[in-house]
């Protein structure tokens, strides 16, 4: 059991680093228009084929993935920080703050996720900034709720109460008793935001919000491929989407495997 968890973590890490490495290594020349290389099916020369301008789809996909991973990383970390601080504030700063933050969480969850994403990135005028902010601002509620509940439960827990009675300072309790328990929860919770962040980044770029068509983002590649579907150029949509799927799956697997270490009780069954 333990070993298989380690193996899964390693596999996931490799799958995540590979596109970043390849994106850095592959030359941008292969993204140039090459009219004699148009519409080629996948082969040894072009692993994922070429598009209607003769651009190498493998290079485009890897660069797109690298961008997606980067955007997802930024957005998930920002979202995690928002969630962590709001959760902490709700649980420690008294009833009024708690009520306001709980209400804010409910409010955020009451608008369909994708509509909220579109609204925020529309308000910010699109672009990478718009996408990152939109994803960051729309993913924090669930983690914030979890952190709040965890901190409240810890505050009421027996060993914290005993520590208080023994006259330990708030700082001592926070760093010795609460942090060791909360930090892993928080890190894994943030990691679990990654797959969502990447999927939603791809979704709104696919819908045409945000990134310019020249940036090789997975969402844009897939959106462009729609025009060529009827010509039978399946590779335009198949490989980029598959790679996106693998990256998302790897993130998910990584986060879940780490979760097993943090909270083994959940995985007893």
């Amino acid at each position: 059991m333990r070993r298989s968890v380690y193996i899964r973590i390693c596999v996931a890490a490799v799958l995540l680093l590979l596109p970043l490495l390849l994106a850095a290594l592959l030359s941008s020349d292969r993204l140039a228009t090459q009219l004699d290389q148009r519409n080629l099916a996948p082969g040894l020369e072009h692993l994922f084929g070429t598009d209607w301008l003769g651009r190498d789809m493998f290079t485009r996909t890897m660069k797109g993935l690298a961008l997606s991973i980067g955007v997802g990383f930024l957005a998930a970390v920002a979202s995690g920080l928002i969630a962590g601080s709001l959760g902490l504030m709700a649980a420690t700063l008294g009833k009024t703050v708690d009520r306001i933050i709980t209400w804010l969480i409910d409010l955020c969850l009451s608008v369909p996720h994708l509509v909220l994403l579109l609204l925020i990135s529309f308000v910010l005028g699109g672009g990478v900034k718009g996408v990152v902010v939109a994803v960051a601002l729309s993913h924090w509620p669930s983690l914030a709720r979890l952190m709040r509940a965890e901190i409240l439960a810890l505050k009421a827990s027996e060993y914290v109460l005993v520590a208080k009675q023994m006259g330990r300072s708030a700082w001592w309790i926070a760093t010795r008793h609460m942090l060791p328990h909360l930090l892993p929860q928080f890190i894994v919770g943030t990691l679990l935001l990654f797959p969502h962040a990447i999927l939603h980044e791809a979704a709104i770029t696919f819908l045409g919000m945000g990134l310019s068509p020249h940036q090789p983002a997975i969402g844009i590649i897939l959106s462009e491929s729609m025009k060529y579907l009827s010509t039978g150029m399946w590779w335009l949509a198949f490989f980029p989407g598959l790679c996106l799927f693998v990256v998302v799956r790897a993130f998910d697997m990584l986060a879940r495997s780490l979760y097993q270490f943090v909270d083994p009780a959940r995985f007893q069954r």
Partner: protein, 329 residues
């Protein structure tokens, strides 16, 4: 008595929610760098003079300060006027009504499909816990939840319209046929692929949840006792499993309206299905502020209704709540 109180409470919550959402949305759009006049004129920008710009701005009420505009807008909304969509040149309410009518059938079909398949798959996985069936279903669910919905739609399009051309490429009705001639069979035929794709979005959630809940039930004392009475397999599931996981599953399914709506936005884009989801994309990419605000409010209402129904089902079906109330009164 309690029922009316619950209804009143829900209504008050709804009004407060819609008020909060509209204030925040309006504030967000007011501070946005997007110029709605430019969005409205679009590519014709160069040929439009300053005066024309001002006229357009005045027509849409864009020359007033934000607070005044908000009050103006709020007053209109309370009277049932959500403004006019810039793209469709039609009242926002009409656009939403029209588009939602198309989306509704699609949403309903996908919702039912994902609910039934997810419930069955989750039940099967839990009953066969630890076997290869369980592993396959779980793997499939995790894979589905990592699959971009629009990519799944693209793959289905490639397979079923290009390679095996058995389904139409998209749209809600055949092209070039007048509205009266479109039969419900046509509509159904055009809806199959989008509905299947959209249902994929919901399946994994409900299946994994059902599996989890059923395992909880199977580990409970009352199932242990049922086993002690010789019940097993399908009989055990029917008598004690299904009965106890049905309510949470239905509740979850009603609470999933948010993901359902989001999924519809993506899927309608892939299949060029002229529903509310496509209108959402149009409104946000082309800067149709009145329509976008209308859709934000409408989709909030949609999600709220789902949650409210879930609350009512619990209230009406669960004997622990239902009979409990009866005994109190």
């Amino acid at each position: 008595m309690r029922a009316t109180r619950m209804l009143m409470f829900q209504l008050i919550r709804l009004v407060l929610l819609l008020a909060a959402v509209s204030i925040i949305t309006f504030a967000l759009i007011s501070v946005s760098p997007i110029d709605p006049v430019q969005a409205y004129i679009g590519a014709d920008m160069l040929r439009v003079g300053e005066e024309q710009r001002a006229a357009i701005a005045a027509y849409w009420g864009l020359d007033q300060p934000p607070i005044e505009r908000f009050l103006h807008w709020l007053k209109a909304i309370v009277q049932g006027d959500m403004g006019t969509s810039m793209i469709y040149r039609e009242p926002v309410l009409e656009v939403i009504k029209d588009r939602f009518a198309h989306s509704f059938v699609l949403l309903l079909a996908a919702w039912l499909l994902s609910g039934v398949i997810g419930f069955a798959a989750g039940s099967l996985a839990a009953m066969k816990q630890g076997t290869w069936i369980d592993r396959v279903i779980q793997w499939y669910c995790y894979a589905l939840s990592s699959t971009p919905a629009f990519w799944a739609g693209l793959l289905l399009l490639i397979v079923f319209t290009v390679w095996l051309p058995i389904f139409p490429v998209g749209l809600a009705v055949p092209a070039g046929v007048s509205a009266e001639q479109v039969t419900w069979l046509d509509r159904l035929y055009h809806m199959v692929l989008p509905a299947i794709t959209l249902s994929l979005v919901g399946i994994s959630n409900i299946a994994l949840h059902t599996r989890e809940k059923l395992l909880e039930v199977l580990g409970s004392d009352y199932v242990r006792f049922a086993r002690a009475r010789g019940e097993q397999g399908f009989l055990l599931w029917r008598r004690h499993g299904a009965r106890n996981i049905m309510l949470p599953a239905i509740t979850l399914q009603f609470a999933s309206f948010s993901e359902l709506f989001g999924g519809a936005v993506l899927i309608e884009q892939v299949f060029s299905y002229p529903g509310l989801g496509q209108a959402t994309v149009e409104a946000s990419t082309r800067g149709d502020v009145p329509l976008l605000m209308g859709i934000v409010l409408f989709s909030t209402l949609f999600v709220f209704v789902g949650n409210a129904i879930a609350e009512w089902i619990y209230r009406l079906v669960d004997p622990r709540i239902k009979e409990g109330y009866r005994h109190e009164t």
